[in-house]
Symmetry: D2
Subunit: 197 residues, 4 copies
């Protein structure tokens, strides 16, 4: 298994957000497997949360903010993505969509993407995971079957990015297996034949 | 038909957004029918686009920003809502969700809400309208059946908030009929019996 | 509170389906409140499960099967609906859609509809509830905010249509309150002013 | 490019269904590219349209109907799937879900799946395509980014399975390119490393 370049998108800007520790854990798991991982955090990305103009609709790329061009390069350079997402009012959180909407589908296209969802209640944000499917597909991403659902997220992760729950750990292993598998399958295919026309 | 207090939520912050003229038109139609209408615009609301903490999760309401408390009062005081929404990557636009997520379901509850969706392409943002249904329901709103779908929005509205397309005008009439009808049905019921327990 | 005519649609044809007891319980709760209730069961409806031609697309209504015309009359005569639905593979169950798709939106229009969802797992079919929103809206129904979610349905109901779980019972009370409230609000409005144009 | 075994699932049982000619066309395009293709048609599958018990929940496989075991083998033996789906009332058609729900996710798992959607109106069933994403993912399939959307389907296909519309033909080419590409990428990976654990 060769190392992949993986971006982890965190879909929350909420004070006291639980997703931060979930994302840290995801990053740690991936680093332990020797992948090159970077967290994309909406609070430090550089955007104020509004989508004023996605990159692909800008006439003059020289006027695009630096963070936008840099993050776009990271996306194009990635082999795989993972989103870590809560659920807000039975919809995708704006922290996730406002971040990912900034960049062109052309940059995301044909990368596998895995979904980790969480909530403080019993349903674990499972509806956000299902609404994420058409969103990720429209961006050109290919979402892998496995979802890691984390109900009652509070207390299951610590600030060091460790997970304290065996069921979640086992599910995360499977999810990472899948993203590695698809990341490798697609990277190999691109190397051999390029992307689909 | 007595006058209703109606809020129109605009779901775009994009430069050159077409939704602004669509929303102006909606406001005009409602004003012509003598309703009290106010546009809630994410660009002037006071939020920077991030959801740091929805009102209902704040411990100390005195620390909540003024715009949040004021808008919350407007929502609680409204008889009906209309959302004017584009579609971003097969999902609800973050401009809409980040605005509406700021306020408690308790404030929205049992108001009828109508959906106007638009896009520059042939599908008119119809998928955003369908994803809006569970979102609005989770906020406690009751979405009325009729949707006003505006494909190829460019050129169908002018800066004075007039609509230049007969099909859209006819559909908007029906949508306004429905929101008035439900607004009145629910207001009458609340006056007679209060809200459901 | 005057009595309403309420139809309960059961969305399962599976052998050993848990929904049958859930639906019996819903019927009992409504009967105890003196409503006129009827269960619409896909296994006894008369259809074989395929949608060959919805009623509104048939040229000659005389050739429509009797069950179709009778059920259509019941829908038009109803003041409110409740669906009792499992979740099949992150989608609405075909037992529900194949039953409801047989009839015209014109027959359903402007009735309130409540959603009861269930599953044998921890998530209670909550995703089916969210996919039901746009489906019910397209049929012209108005889904009320409250959902009664039943996770781990096995053991929570008996064959006499009794519920053995206090949380579910409390939620069902709230759901019935809402459907009564909206059923009454809408019926009153129709009596006073007819339906929206 | 080596030949793939591809199943095409048709999601309509309606009299006069347009999907039949769409599916014939899809089959023809794939055959011209030398793939082994089979159409799975809900009208001739052997099921009466109800899901009485999906294969994975049957205790005794010897009691499972022959069509169920045979089709399950075909699914397990396939390298890729394509669904051809209309949209019924802003939901997936029961003809599609009742057919695919009969079989275990384990049989579908890790096959790429492409979506062709159609309608007689201007929106081409685009909402069904978006609701298909979480459904296909839950079955373990990996839906490829490209969708072939066919608005105003009437007149665009003939009974010989030919397409008369250049835009649709161009889109279908892209879709077939993608399903071949992903089918080959995944098949190669399975041959080299087996499936993800």
């Amino acid at each position: 298994m060769s190392a992949l370049r993986i971006l982890v998108f965190l879909g929350s800007t909420r004070e006291g957000r639980h997703g931060e520790n979930v994302a840290k854990y995801v990053v740690n798991v991936l680093k332990n497997k020797k992948h090159n991982v970077e967290l994309i955090d909406p609070l430090t990305l550089g955007s104020d949360g509004h989508v004023y103009q996605p990159l692909q609709f800008r006439r003059d790329l020289n006027e695009a903010p630096e963070w936008m061009l840099e993050t776009n390069s990271k996306i194009k350079n990635a082999n795989a993505l993972i989103i870590v997402t809560p659920e807000y009012n039975c919809a995708l959180p704006p922290a996730l969509t406002s971040m990912m909407d900034q960049f062109p589908p052309a940059s995301y296209k044909h990368r596998p993407c895995a979904i980790v969802c969480y909530s403080m209640g019993p349903f674990g944000g499972i509806r956000a995971a299902s609404f994420a499917r058409p969103f990720l597909s429209e961006l050109g991403l290919v979402s892998v079957p496995k979802v890691c659902v984390v109900p009652e997220v509070q207390g299951k992760f610590n600030d060091e990015g460790q997970c304290l729950d065996d069921r979640v750990k086992a599910n995360m292993e499977k999810l990472v297996d899948e993203i590695q598998w698809y990341g490798s399958a697609i990277s190999n295919k691109i190397k051999a034949d390029g992307v689909p026309s």
